[in-house]
Amino acid sequence: MLRILWVLWPSFLVAGIAEGIFFTIVDPQELYLFGEPVHLSKIATYSIGFFGFWATCAASSLMTWFLQLGAAELNKGVGVTTPAGDGAPK
């Protein structure tokens, strides 16, 4: 649960900022989707845009979480005991 929140919460905050900046500069009606002008309502475009940003940011947070895992956590399940203090989770 904690890990899920570590991924979802910071990405939520950053997605909010990204959404604000992006749609201030870009009018949703100027967007093209697969070569076709977007014909969703503006509120729908903003909302989908927000979830798009959120998903992208969450992917980045997930990667960060994944890459900072210690050796002990990665070796878990293969029968290797990593000495404490050597990348073991604090």
């Binding site: 649960m1 729908a44 909302s47």
Partner: protein, 473 residues
Amino acid sequence: MASNPQMPPQESRPNFVEESLYEVHKKVHPRAVSGVFATWRWALVWITQLVYYGLCWLPWNGRQAVLFDLVERKFYIFGLVFWPQDVIFLAILLIISAYSLFLFTAVGGRLWCGYACPQTVYTEIFTWIEQKIEGERNARIKLDAAPMSARKLGLRTAKYGAWILLAFWTGFTFVGYFTPIKTVWSSLWSFSLGPWETFWMLFYGAFTYLFAGHMREQVCKHMCPYARFQGVMFDPDTLTITYDNERGEPRGARKKGVDPQSISKGDCVDCGICVQVCPTGIDIRAGLQYECIGCAACIDACDQVMEKMDYPKGLIRYSTEHAIESHWGWKEIIAHIVRPRVIIYSTILAVICLAFVWGIATKATLRVDVIRDRAVLAREVEGGLVENLYRLHVINVSEAPLRYSVSVSGLDGIEMVGERVIEVPAAAARSVTVQVRVPPGSGKRGANQIFFDVKSLSDPKVAVHEKASFLQP
């Protein structure tokens, strides 16, 4: 990973600890408190929430006074209309907010967290509801521990029901700042609210319910970025909630009115009320810690105890590191407010505020974009004249419909065909196509600079002189 909560091994966890969203934590049941600072906090609750719940209902010139119209991409704030081109004002506003926060924090510590942050404000309201329905701290602890019964079920239903209603109203209000609230209100009752409006209303409401009802201090402790960096704005002259260690220790219980010196103890009677009232469940007597949101509930509570004991108030008080060390009074504390950090923050803030006010006051009420028609470079028309086509995009940023005269200059014999007077409704934009013609020999071959003048017919000061290029073949 420094913030990784230290989880005690399974067997050493006390029974009353519940598994929570962020960490293993003791549920905090803050005890109600009254006093000077509690009154201040409630005043702020009233002010901020009257503004939040009320402002969206205020009419202005036949529209909603404050409306962030995302569909039309226009922000209305009373008499002002902001277009996407005005994003600079939003940026300046954010910088002003940031510097105000820095300044307040450097001088008065976590004033924002303790009194004005929505998390604090909604937690205060939700806790008040909880206390009205389930009773005071001890009653709530008992109720939590009690097995499910008809009474407990009834109280819980009432509490969650009241929370949900308030959270829903909060979500409804939130949406009402982006879609006119009267429309939202009427479509709510005719079940015709758009899917995304419905979604955001429930989304915002659900987060209010979760954050203010259930997560409370955990939001401040684990989710708020500000709580983590506010420490860098502190210095030894920053006002913080401080326990006077020297006066209080050694702490210990005693009878009312006993002179502490006669029993060789400090003034702290170790009643623990400062811990019971703390919304984040910390003991301020251990010193300043990042969990302290600066709400001053412990000051109010301790002052009441000191009064009962006939001891002077202020064992826990707003003070600074230097003031505690050097036994300063308010006079010295106030004298130390003026220091380089505060002067720098104030100067920057004052300059930006002036720039903002100046920018708003001189904000153009008319904008014109001239776009040359690229499909037709230049063509010859009747009488041998050379014609170029232009599209004028005229934006009326003012609150009234206006008529503008359009004229062109810059080349000998230049003339314009098309609308010479255009009317643009209030806070709207209009595009018109104009044909500009010159005699064949006028100007050089290639691009020539010409000018469009767009002037308001009612106020000659509202005018735009915009350049464009005329192509002579």
